[in-house]
Symmetry: C2
Subunit: 582 residues, 2 copies
């Protein structure tokens, strides 16, 4: 036994007790012949007092930051109490100590407010993990994990492990593949999700399944996307969409209550995909603030203003209380929408002044009455600023969606500690992939069309109209989960694969096991999967998932601490019967 107590549990009640602690040296402060050391472990910090009698020995063992120390001593009431920490009323008057391990000076300070840059902290991740801020993130992740498990256990869901070495069935994102020494020239794939397995488990009668499980995508990496990520993966049998929405709304409420102490008394709002696109310009609306998109196309056309007349879409938002934006601020916004990521040619504004007058950047083409009509359509009040974009429909809607978020940010309407979840439902079944010139599944190929639209599956010209029993749960402008009611009939599944351009042979080769399973008594079923990393980040009030992963990869998919991926021996390649192509 290296310790009798942790560094987080001693208080005034323990005064006079002899104790042994072990931990890391956080700080060393010398005052003449007396030395104070803050000793840190996972549970807290305790002040150690090395008095005069011990002093010679302490001098012989110079204590640096992050040294690992074991001390024995007596719990003593402190004269100078620290009310900020639970152990702040006491200190340990040290009678004996031992340096268990020395430490070099860390490359950055182990503090909330560290001086270490991103790359350095990734390289020494084991030191970064010591910082209190990072530890709190991992503790939150662990608590969310437990909270989710407890809820799902209580609802009769069974945790069933599905395999990691599966079959490559490229459709959508790219698979990571794994060569096999035992079966040369053949490859396993790592799962992008346990989708087909959880469906098979429903066919097997397991009724309610869950797993908190790693998934893998060999995708081009973007900021905050990891090649391996964790899902809360769930599936239920004999359910309709309503059952799933209710169950997982309950789960989210349970987690919010346990993790953040927030109680939602009302049902989460629901919005159709069409509504989300119309009013927010995207399918994951941030509803912490209003500022809805207003379509002005019909109102503004035909007045001789070429930009509007040639536009597929003219769309506006009303920014509350921004009528006094300066020229400089407006120029800045204009530059903002012209950036390549947004891609607009310009921004039109209308100031609805507090005195009721209106002033716009298009006064040459529109008189005050006309501008007033726009303002009315946007439900703007005196003091507001209308921002108007015009152009190709898809790009313009997307740009306005971004501008809305940007204005929300500038107006301080996106508080990280306010949570506004909602369901977005009735997603389109398909979307058209321009590059590939084919229809692809919006969610995945196992999603069922709405029953009353099954007929449209026979007419490719109407694929775009088909809606699915598919749903996302969106939190503060981020999709945290999504799912669907699945196809459970072989003929419909075959029709779906065909619609996606898969030949019957290809479908049989890739998904023969699932098609086969549907012939032996498949029940109606559906499910959902949550992005666990992202859910934890949002619950922690952060947007960076990397902060909530113990050992994340960088933006190039590298683990800079391990230096992985890396080259492997020729002998390993030979055994695997593969060769490198330079």
């Amino acid at each position: 036994m290296y310790r009798t107590h942790t560094c987080g549990e001693l208080n005034i009640e323990h005064t006079g007790r002899q104790v042994t602690l072990a931990g890391w040296v956080q700080t060393v402060r010398k005052f003449g012949s007396i030395t104070f050391v803050d000793l840190r472990d996972r549970y807290g910090i305790t002040q150690l007092l090395f008095g005069e009698t011990l002093n010679p020995r302490l001098d012989q063992a110079p204590l640096g930051r992050e040294f690992v120390l074991q001390v024995t001593g007596t719990v003593t009431e402190r004269s100078n109490k620290n009310k900020n920490i639970p152990t702040g009323d006491i200190e340990i008057t040290v009678s004996d100590f031992k340096v268990l391990n020395a430490a070099k000076t860390p490359p950055f300070t182990i503090q909330d407010d560290t001086d270490g840059g991103d790359e350095l902290r990734m390289k020494y991740r084991y030191l970064d993990l010591r910082r209190n801020a990072v530890k709190q993130h991992l503790e939150l992740r662990y608590r969310v994990n437990r909270s989710v498990r407890n809820f799902l256990d209580s609802r009769g869901f069974m945790d069933i492990e599905t395999p990691f070495l599966i079959k490559s069935t490229p459709e959508g994102a790219r698979d990571f593949v794994v060569p096999s020494r035992m079966n040369p020239n053949e490859f396993y794939a790592l799962p992008q999700s346990p989708q087909t397995f959880k469906q098979l488990l429903m066919v097997s009668g397991y009724d309610r399944y869950y797993q908190i499980v790693k998934c893998f995508r060999d995708e081009d990496l973007r900021a905050d996307r990891q090649p391996e990520f964790t899902q809360i993966d769930c599936e239920m049998s004999f359910v309709e969409q309503e059952d799933i929405l209710n169950t997982f709304e309950d789960m989210m409420k349970h987690v919010f209550r346990e993790i953040r102490g927030i109680t939602f008394n009302e049902p989460f709002p629901r919005m159709t995909w069409d509504e989300a696109m119309e009013f927010y310009g995207n399918d994951k609306p941030d509803i912490r603030f209003d500022m809805k998109l207003v379509n002005l196309t019909g109102t503004v056309k035909g007045r001789g203003f070429k930009v509007f007349d040639e536009a597929e879409l003219v769309v506006a938002i009303a920014a509350k209380g921004c009528s006094e934006y300066t020229r400089k601020q407006l120029d800045e916004l204009t530059e903002w929408v012209k950036r390549p990521q947004i891609g607009m040619n310009g921004l039109i504004y209308v100031k609805y002044n507090t005195d009721g007058t209106l002033k716009s950047s298009v006064d040459k083409f529109f008189d005050e009455e006309q501008l007033k009509a726009w303002a009315a359509q946007c439900q703007a009040q005196p003091g507001d600023l209308l921002l108007v974009l015009a152009g190709r429909e898809e790009r313009t809607r997307k740009a306005m969606s971004e501008l809305r978020l940007e204005m929300g940010e500038r107006l301080g309407l996106r508080n990280k500690n306010e949570f506004k979840p909602l369901w977005v439902i009735d997603f389109p079944l398909f979307e058209y992939a321009e590059e590939e010139q084919r229809w692809v599944a919006r969610h995945h190929p196992f999603t069922s069309p709405k029953p009353d639209q099954l007929g449209l599956m026979d007419d490719p010209s109407r694929y775009g109209q088909i809606k699915a029993n598919a749903y996302d749960i969106v939190l503060n402008g981020t999709e945290v989960g999504g799912g669907s009611i699945r196809i459970f009939q072989r003929d419909l599944q075959e029709k779906m694969f065909a619609a996606l351009g898969m030949s019957p042979e290809e479908a049989a080769h890739k998904f023969g096991f699932l098609l086969g399973a549907f012939e032996y008594g498949a029940p109606p079923h559906g499910g959902i999967a949550f992005g666990f990393d992202r859910l934890c980040a949002l619950l922690g009030g952060s947007e960076s998932i990397r902060d909530f992963i113990a050992f994340p990869k960088n933006n190039s998919g590298r683990d800079v601490m391990l230096d992985a991926p890396s080259g492997i021996d020729q002998a390993q390649l030979d055994e695997l019967k593969i060769a490198l192509v330079k």
Copy 2:
């Protein structure tokens, strides 16, 4: 909502209630105009009565086995009650029904006692999973998972996810590697265990870590070994071996109590590795029965019997009550030890007859008095049978260990529902790998030598004598867990790598991150990992781990249901910049 109740919950209290159930048709029995159907779901079986008035409609919808059915009807008391199932007092008088999905006749019967062979059941695993026997295995696995988590949570262990895409560091078993499109010609490896990560987490101060996690080994497959398997992986800081043994003995007791209702009041026995080898011939003794190995080498040599005189080891067991074994039985045992897997040249026996006389297969060389001395040494009683093997030390000990288990089996001493756990401690640090002509780590290269034997690390000729703070937990002759106190000093870890024949450059290349971490304040730590699949199998009274895995691979590492591994497209290979070698 497809149902108001499950097929497992209705009883006599529900009589008169209108209910809706959904599930699978287990059996259909017709009696004139009445049809009985047993409807099955995850929760149980309920009898349905299709009466006369419904009959025409039922005739139009021929119900086969495994059809998916939704029925509405009234809960009615049964005349012919079935006391074997919880719902046996009632049946549902069906008023309405719907076939939700038809089913082809399954390729084998969905019954405990199925007619399906192994390969067929693997191919249609989703049907095999419907069988009650298999479902109970997965339910047990889920219950063990929860039980372990609850225990570890209550002891302050944190579940922390470690990465799956790591660095290849071949040492011991082979890594599966994963080519990377983003980093061409470089490979990730899948973890054989999270060993180094859990050690880094200790360096980071997380104090108590656990994970129930998939691990991967690209090993030659043997019966009942899977390329992917699950570990309960744990690590603790500031502990000595005793702390770890106590903690995880408590965990095992908790699990036995919750899963099997078995209470262990006594501490688990502990045996040194030396004792295990001496008395049981292996390091995972089955102590459900005694029949210890007795070394007769000193006693039997020099009597002119060449087999003994030339042997490195002469070893015996006394099989209780077997003195009346027939010639045929003894011949059979002789053949058994001569099989290539055992590899002995012959078997010597001594019958200690119930009348006190002795009769042996070596009467020519040894008189009754001498045989009596052997019997005494083996603590044999009249009625027992001594079995003696002689030859090269290692092979002979191993053979006797196997023969002991075989005799235990024949004598019915290996009851699957009796549980005899024990700790085997003080493992050797190294073992000599004859093929490679070098020392390898018995447990792994991170295991610490016993502190008082650190000096021996400087003398390769004494490597064989060094014992480690390493321990296994053994249950009924199977290792279910193992671990060690780890090295936490850079210089000792470097010495260890050097002892294993690793150059400083190689050590730095493979494990630089760990050596580095040890310089920044690494605490003393140690841990353990349990084979979760095997633990579940043993708790379920089975020896086959495959029965306790939802989607196992076969003995060639193939998933015959998915047909994985399989070939991949040339386009995928091109993207990965690898080529196949034929």
